[in-house]
Each structure stands twice: as C-alpha cells, then as structure tokens.
C-alpha cells in the first residue's frame, strides 16, 4: 500500500499529528494521483481538516513524510514547509470555516490568489511600466474569468463579507484556482448549500478538473456528492484511515457503515 505510484501528485507516509496529549492523526498513509478526485470522509473530529492543515504547512506534522510532485515533475518533501511556499508549489485549499478577505471585493479576493504567480515588485508598482501594466491587466482578466467560472461575475465588486454563504464558498474555490494549483484541496465545499446548489457545485468541480487539469482532494459530508464525484475515497476515524477504495467498495464496508454512514444510507 505504501509503494508510491509514479503518477502520484501527493503521497503521505506514516504521518501523525499530536496536540498535546491528543493524537489527532496517527500513521496516515495517503495518496492522490494525477487527475484524480479523491474524497476524505469520516465522522466529525476524525482529523480530516487536521490532515489538510498538515499537508499545507499550517501545522508541522509530528511524524511522517509528505511528498508532493509539482507540475515540473519534481518530487519534494514538503512537511513543515511554510504555507505560502506550499501554495506556490501548487497546492491550494479552501477552508472549512470560510476565510475570505472580508473587506475586499470578490474580484480582489481572486486577484490575491494570483499573487504567487506574478512578480511585480515595489518599484514596478510605483513606476508602473508597460510590463507591470500588462501583468496587472492580465491578473484582472484572469480573475474575472475565474469568477465567471464559479458564477460570481455579477458580484465581482461586492465586498466578500456581504455575499451569501454559498457564494462565499464558491469564491474561495475561485481564489484557490487562481494560484494555478496542481492539487486543489476542498474542505467541505458543499456545506451550506442546498441539494440543487450542491449538484451545480459538483458539475463545477468536474468541469474545473478537466479545464484546469488539477487533481482534487475533497472533504465532504454530503454522501451524494462524494459518491458520485470521487474516484477513490479514504475513510478516517479517530485519526486513522479505516478504509480506502472506490465509492462502491467503501459504501459497502461494514466498518464505514458503523462509524460513519449509519444503517440505512439514504443520502
């Protein structure tokens, strides 16, 4: 299981994370391959978000190894790497508790995502030469296009904090996409959306995966979305991976039913 496949973009080996006495993750092995949509599910408090935090550098895992293969084909060890460098490498995330830049407009929020892909510095900003101007316009245009992608172009100039919950979630996705990731990490993107909106979101994710050629790692409690969207699923409980496999395999796994899905899965 721990043998790394050649097309893995993310592979995690034997990772653990302790908070004081609490072991939030223990000996997790994990892999995302190129172009895949992988879901991570599990009961509340299982350690899913903590897993995201560990691989994006927000926490440094207590043990284990995180390897990422960026678009350049090189594989790097990234545990403990600073968050911004992880993002620059090409792993972008959204947050479970939405973290938008509240008093910036929707468009600007996305433009922030372009930051690590642009180079304009202090002097460029002050003198605003043709190169800078071109880059700026490109940032604006690309960001706007991303807003179109997630259906928010008509609120481009609204403050992010004034958008409804669902729109904020989509805006976070657009912002993450703006960093040109090879791996998109979504933490409960459908939370706060109704079934219809969830459906639209799913379509959106599928489209994004093709168009931007990204792998997606998804935490979600909406089983309908998870089951129909993902190629593979990892199930976590008390910080351990208790099952992996295709949606069909996982949803039939008695362990998973006991720990997470419950008897009659009517999702």
């Amino acid at each position: 299981m721990s043998e790394t496949r050649r097309d893995a973009v993310l592979s995690v080996r034997n990772m653990s994370m302790n908070f004081g006495g609490l072991r939030a993750l223990s000996e997790v092995d994990f892999e995302v391959r190129k172009g895949e949509v992988v879901a991570l599910i599990g009961p509340n408090g299982a350690g899913k978000t903590t897993f995201f935090n560990c691989i994006t550098g927000i926490y440094a895992p207590t043990e284990g190894e995180v390897l990422a293969t960026a678009r350049d084909g090189k594989t790097r060890r990234i545990n403990g790497m600073r968050t911004n460098l992880v993002c620059e490498l090409g792993m972008a995330r959204t947050f479970q508790n939405i973290r938008l830049f509240a008093s910036m407009t929707a468009l600007e929020n996305v433009m922030i995502g372009r930051h690590c892909r642009t180079r304009e510095g202090l002097f460029g900003a002050i003198f605003r030469g043709p190169g800078t101007r071109r880059e700026e316009q490109e940032v604006v245009d690309k960001s706007y296009r991303l807003l179109q992608k997630v259906g928010l172009e008509n609120v481009a100039n609204e403050y992010a904090s004034n958008l409804p919950y669902g729109a904020q979630r989509r805006l976070e996705i657009a912002r993450a996409l703006a960093t040109e990731p090879f791996l998109l990490l979504l933490d409960e993107p459908a939370a706060g959306m109704n079934p219809q909106e969830t459906l639209e979101l799913k379509e959106m994710v599928i489209q994004i995966r093709h168009e931007f050629d990204v792998s997606v790692l998804l935490i979600e409690h909406d089983m309908k979305m998870v089951m129909s969207l993902s190629d593979r699923i990892y199930v976590m409980e008390y910080g351990r991976v208790i099952a992996t496999g295709t949606p069909a395999e996982v949803s039939a796994d008695p362990e998973v039913i006991r720990a997470y899905l419950g008897e009659e899965s009517d999702a």
Partner: protein, 235 residues
C-alpha cells in the same frame, strides 16, 4: 406564539427582507427554506433583535418585541443556534455549555440537562476540557446546538443545524429536534439547506426567495410541489 408582520430589514441601504410574514404556532415545527442569500439568516437575526427590522412588527406571545434588545428577547425564551458555528472560542466546551444556561437559576435542572447533552453527543463529553475554538467543525456545530438546548427555550431557532455534520449525526440531529419538540413542547423554527430532511420533520414550511416569502404550505404539500422539488430538492 411567534409572528412576523410585514417585516423589512436592511443592511445599511441594502434591503435583505421585504414584507415578510411568518406565523409560528405553539408546539409547532416550521421550516424556512430558500436559496443562498435569500434572507433566511437575516430573518432569524431580525427575530432575535440582532439586526432590527426597519419596518413591521415581531410579536412573541402577542407582545411586540421588535424594538427590544437581543438579551431581553432571549430572556423571554427565544434562543438561536446561529449560522456558522458561533461559539466562544476561548472557553472550554464545558464553559460554553454553562454559558448556554446563563439565564437559568435551577442548578439541578442545568446539571441534568448537561448530562443529557453529553449523552446526546458523547464526543463533547470527551472534549469537555478542550477550548471551543480548537474543536473540529462538526464538533463546534454540535456544541452550538447543545448550548442552545441548555437554555431550555420556549422557541428554538435553528440556522442550518446540519451544516458540516456527518450523515450519522445529521440523522441524530433531526431526531433530537423531533424529540425536544415532542417532550418539552418546544416550538421550533428551522432554517435548513437540507430541505429534504427539514420538510420531513417539520409541520409547515415557508419558501423564501430574494427576501420575500413566495410559498407557504404544509410540508407534505411542499415536498410534492414541483417548483420546490426542482429548486431545492435537487431532484
């Protein structure tokens, strides 16, 4: 029990609610569904006096509460589980629950309620010494619900209680809603994205679009309504 009459609510100069009329009878479960940004959260905030209505009136047990401050409204027995897992991040789980019972004086009742909440959500008992802010999303949501239960309100306003919870727990939440409605005759005002489930537990439902109530009916009727099916049930 609770009545909203011609409510208009604004954020600055943006109108979020337009002429909203809702009636909740005692002992009833009603649900309010609607798309993102329809104004559901705003409706609850207006009832609680956090975002006061500019026009119209809110009546509770026949008395107007429109201009009362939020704490007075809570004192009258209206309690809200707010959207987005609002909890006290630097208080422990236990202290958060105690804050829920802030207005209560019956110590023994509070203690037994605490036990009850811990049996409902055993994970909270495990985590009772942890700071609220470090809980996982779902744990925070459970804490928020439990906190409201600790207040023993007459009317419980729930804003998307199932948000971020595992399927198993969601089912449990809806059971709890039914249970407290049945056992302590708590009136419940449920705002849900999970319209399917919500319409199943509730007696009556309202549909909100762009700050207006567009439909109002018994839940089974709404479940059968084509427009509702298409827009909210994802069928």
């Amino acid at each position: 029990m609770l009545e909203l009459k011609n409510i208009d609510t604004y954020y600055g100069n943006i109108q979020a609610l337009r002429d909203v009329n809702i009636t909740v009878r005692e002992g009833e479960i009603i649900t309010l569904i609607g798309a993102n940004g329809a104004g559901k959260t705003t409706t609850l905030m207006t009832i609680c006096g956090v975002v006061p209505a500019r026009n119209g009136e809110v009546l509770f047990q026949g008395k107007p509460i429109t201009r009362l401050s939020a704490d007075k409204i809570v004192r009258m027995g209206i309690c809200q589980v707010p959207e987005g897992r609002l909890i006290f991040p630097d208080l422990t789980v236990r202290e958060n629950l105690d804050m829920g019972a802030f207005l209560r004086d019956d110590k023994s009742g509070v203690d037994s309620d605490l036990e009850q909440v811990f049996t409902l959500f055993p994970i909270l008992k495990e985590r009772r010494r942890q700071l609220g802010g470090t809980l996982s999303g779902g744990e925070q949501q459970m804490l928020a619900i439990s906190r409201a239960l600790m207040a023993r309100p007459k009317v419980l306003l729930l804003d998307e209680p199932s948000l971020g919870l595992a399927p198993l727990i969601i089912r449990q939440i809806f059971d709890i809603i039914k249970q407290i409605n049945r056992e302590s005759n708590t009136t419940i005002f449920l705002v849900e994205q999970n319209a399917n489930q919500a319409l199943k537990v509730a007696n009556r439902g309202y549909v909100m679009e762009n700050g207006r109530i567009t439909l109002e009916d018994a839940c089974d009727k709404l479940l059968a309504n084509d427009a509702v099916k298409k827009a909210y049930l994802g069928l």
